[in-house]
Amino acid sequence: MSEKRDETALANAEAAKTKILEYCRRKGALAVGVADLEAINLVAPPGHRPGDILPNVRSVISIGVGGQTQGAWSVPSKAFAYFGSTEGRGYSVAYGCSFFIENAFRARSVYCPPDMDPDGGARIPLQSLKLHAELAGIGARSLAGDILLHPEFGYMYYASVFTELWLPPDQPLETNPCPAPSCVDMHRKTGQTPCMTFCPVQCLSGDIDENGQQAEMRYEMSKCAEMSQQYEAMPQMLGEAIGARDAEARERKLLDPDNALLWYKMSVGSGGLLAQCFECMRVCPIATRAPLADPIRRANAADAKAQG
């Protein structure tokens, strides 16, 4: 009887998982998976585990939505800094998913806040969405500062849902698409992959082993952050202005062209204060040229499939 109950529970869980995954895909997710909670807890430090947000959490669902359009990869990089627009779409799917689970399965659910930990500083997240996605099998860590890449969808934005509903977990990707064969070749010739070469602040370095697999990834986050994270500029600007030697210098500190841009962004409530430069992704063959990396490629693939 007990085994039969377990089988029934598993079958119900599988069915629930199927419905949840279908919901997410219908709402725009490219890839969805369930991460192994036990594995998350073994990797995430205390204070950053799903249970620190939802105490009786039993499952972590990871959702991946499309990264950039093909056009976005070709815009000038100063404009590209403002193209982080699709991440919001991932959060919408996750938000809806949490409502869907509570409605359909009567299990408490919450969309995982994607923000920084107010108790941990400007670059410490509450939860690692990257860890969830990796363990859910919808992305693998790349040499480009651990940005996740998917062999089919390339570069995606991720969101997570925590739920008290138990769902059978997925396994991580069997193989890591990074480094691509062309990157291995380049590294063997020059000691760098494209992402390392073209990083404007040279925050990336690393090694590839004899099998063409990642041996070591090195990433200097502070350098990377300097490229775009202007929120840290605001207090610095004010600090410089306070310490200015005279009124003219103070005015210059506050209103030089760069600072004036920050004031403008604040005054119009621009959300473009937190973008990365993503030069590493722009030159990544997986991020930009994976079979389903952008809407054009996905539409072409759909057409090809329809034509048999």
Binding site: L42, A81, P172, R218, Y219, E220, Q236
Partner: protein, 656 residues
């Protein structure tokens, strides 16, 4: 502070920060190292063993260091704030459109060169009337013209078209650009940058143009030194220009400019490099070494159209030289519009008798480059070489001064040279005697003769157009160039009506902004309302054509009766025994001044003063204007554009 706590509450001191800042920075997430792929492979033991390399949370760091979590958080936040360079993202501005970051080409912002104090001072000397500038921009007279911009366009559009043709061979536009780029790299490697002055004393050879284009390519400023100048003049000009480099020949037939420049005493204060073209000179850089290039040019060296790119000296090498700074905008705008007015096309072959060290020579080059025509170079003017060049290379446009044509006429080469390829002659440097103009025009079966009036300060201000008749072009400097306004004024500065002689004054988009570092000259050069006083006497006809009638300072004041000797000079030039004539005032104890006639004889015998006076009387000249003294000279002292230097004639007469 964490959760709003103060330093005192957390127990933080500055010494604590100093002690722990580096350690906490290195242990936090700022530097992350991952070996293998342990998370994907569920290698949890390995993750635990190498967790610190992936970056640690504040609590984990606190446990390792023996601090509280709040202390770690406070020190980490403060350290990040102090170390954060918030302007790094400026690097992004130069990326995109296929451009990617390349560490080999990258120069950090803080390491990028800027204007040196001397360069800034020169830049600061460019002060224009703001309202006028708005007009220049609105009318398209000032645009984004730069020489490197033009050259790149030509090299892209017509890479295989001949840009420079000289006795040493041809350079096509793509080759010229490549040579200029390499020389620019060489100059940059020497530390020459934006706004730095590089003086050039070279004949009309391809290397002059390569040097000029390279200087312009890095946003530096070329100052020219005329070929006849020697150490005294070179030293004076290089000092006034604050030149950082001097490009010259190793040796001329009778002089060693590089050696002389290296030995200048006192040494020009800013001079660092002498670059010698020719045989090696100890202490000088070899032109060939600099032109080998090397390295790459950083993006910030791109020239700006509004920056100075030329610093030319008008005349004189006295203690107070008159240096004319010129911007690309004004100078190249004048040439760009001139190209259309002169009807130049890419099919033209332009030959200039004027030296490239002079604005007239540079103007011909600017015109040709503006349309993609070929520049036919004559290293040094000699009538026979000029004639040979015309005969063999078949130029379509000639730039020359009256004295060049007079020399051709004297040697008989004007008659014997086939000028059938020439469709346009642009004559400038001084007013052309009408008879000479007609003689040249008569030799052009397929071409037109035109006159151009200009000064270093004004560039091409007036010219007749190719459609004008020789009757006009022989006596007139023509009409204002696009963007130029002229007026004729009396000695008080009041405008005069058409037909009355007065001083020619100019303003417009072609104008220089004022002499560099010479307030006295500036005070004299500009009228109160901003018009430039040319110092030339002129008449305006009802159609707007301007006839240059002389120089104000050449006017003879004979006992209070003032007259302009230009008419007399023109009549004397037409005398069969006179090749060239000039009237200069000589001091007289009774009348103040009397007119002295100085001539170069045509043929073997010199005319007498009486014979010349009779010639003039027959042609209606008043007795009061007749010359009262005659001096015969072998040759006239001439400017680089072969204009008679009357001051030197006066000195010679005084010595006699």
């Amino acid at each position: 502070m964490p959760r709003g706590l103060t330093f005192a509450q957390i127990g933080i001191t500055e010494s604590m920060i100093e002690t722990w800042a580096d350690t906490i920075w290195n242990m936090s997430n700022n530097v992350q190292v991952r070996r293998g792929d342990p998370i994907r492979k569920h290698e949890f033991d390995r993750i635990d063993a190498e967790r610190s390399d992936l970056g640690m949370s504040d609590g984990q760091i606190a446990a390792v260091l023996g601090l509280t979590r709040d202390q770690v958080m406070a020190i980490r936040s403060l350290t990040e704030a102090r170390r954060f360079n918030r302007r790094s993202y400026f690097e992004l501005y130069e990326l995109g459109r296929g451009r990617r970051f390349n560490p080999a080409r990258h120069v950090p912002l803080e390491a990028r060169g800027g204007f040196r104090p001397d360069a800034l001072a020169l830049r600061g000397a460019l002060k224009f009337d703001a309202r006028q500038v708005t007009r220049f921009i609105d009318n398209g007279w000032w645009t984004n013209d730069t020489l490197p911009g033009w050259l790149s366009k030509r090299a892209q559009e017509m890479p295989d078209r001949v840009a420079v043709s000289s006795p040493a061979g041809d350079l096509r536009y793509a080759e010229l650009r490549a040579c200029a780029e390499r020389f620019a790299e060489g100059l940059h490697a020497l530390g020459i940058g934006r706004g730095d002055v590089v003086a050039v004393q070279l004949p009309n050879v391809a290397e002059f143009l390569v040097t000029y284009l390279a200087i312009a390519r890095i946003g530096a400023v070329m100052s020219t030194v005329h070929m006849p100048y020697r150490a005294a003049e070179i030293g004076s000009l290089l000092s006034h220009a604050r030149a950082r480099a001097f490009v010259c020949l190793s040796r001329t037939k009778d002089y060693e400019p590089a050696v002389a420049a290296l030995a200048l005493d006192p040494r020009p204060p800013a001079l660092e490099y002498v670059i010698a073209l020719g045989e090696p000179v100890s202490g000088a850089r070899a032109f060939s070494d600099v032109s080998a290039g090397g390295g790459t040019l950083p993006v910030e060296l791109a020239p700006a159209p509004a920056d100075p790119f030329l610093l030319l000296f008008t005349s004189g090498t006295s203690a107070s030289p008159k240096a004319v700074p010129l911007t690309s905008q004004a100078t190249l705008g004048n040439a760009r519009m001139g190209g259309a007015e002169h009807c130049l096309t890419a099919d033209d072959i332009v030959l200039s008798a004027a030296p490239l060290t002079h604005l007239f020579g540079l103007y011909s080059f600017h015109l040709a480059t503006s349309v993609g025509a070929a520049n036919l170079l004559l290293p040094v003017f000699a009538p026979s070489d000029f004639a040979k060049s015309i005969a063999t290379s078949r130029p379509t446009v000639l730039f020359a001064g009256p004295a060049h044509f007079a020399a051709m006429l004297k040697t008989g080469l004007l008659d014997s040279t086939d000028l059938s390829s020439v469709r346009l002659v642009i004559c400038s440097g001084s007013a052309c005697p009408p008879e000479l103009a007609r003689a040249v025009a008569a030799k052009l079966p397929n071409g037109k003769f035109s006159q151009l009036w200009g000064m270093t300060e004004t560039q091409a201000g007036l010219y007749t157009r190719p459609g004008d008749s020789i009757d006009l072009a022989a006596v007139s400097a023509g009409r204002p160039s696009p963007g130029t306004e002229v007026r004729i004024t009396d000695p008080d500065g009041s405008p005069l009506p058409a037909g009355e002689e007065g001083e020619l004054q100019v303003r417009g988009s072609l104008m220089f902004p004022g002499y560099y570092d010479n307030d006295k000259a500036n005070a004299q050069a500009f009228a109160e309302d901003g018009w430039f006083r040319s110092g030339d006497l002129a008449l305006l006809d009802p159609e707007g054509n301007v006839r240059i009638t002389g120089r104000i300072k050449d006017v003879i004041n004979r006992g209070g009766v003032k007259y302009n000797p230009r008419d007399i000079e023109d009549l004397l030039d037409a005398h069969p025994q006179v090749l060239q004539a000039a009237i200069v005032p000589v001091p007289d104890p009774v009348l103040g001044e009397r007119a002295c006639c100085v001539i170069v004889v045509r043929g073997d015998s010199a005319p007498t003063l009486d014979a010349l006076c009779a010639w003039l009387l027959e042609r209606g000249i008043a007795r009061t204007k007749l010359p009262e003294r005659l001096e015969v000279v072998a040759e006239m002292p001439l400017t680089p554009t072969r204009k008679i230097i009357k001051g030197r004639l006066l000195e010679a007469i005084a010595r006699n």
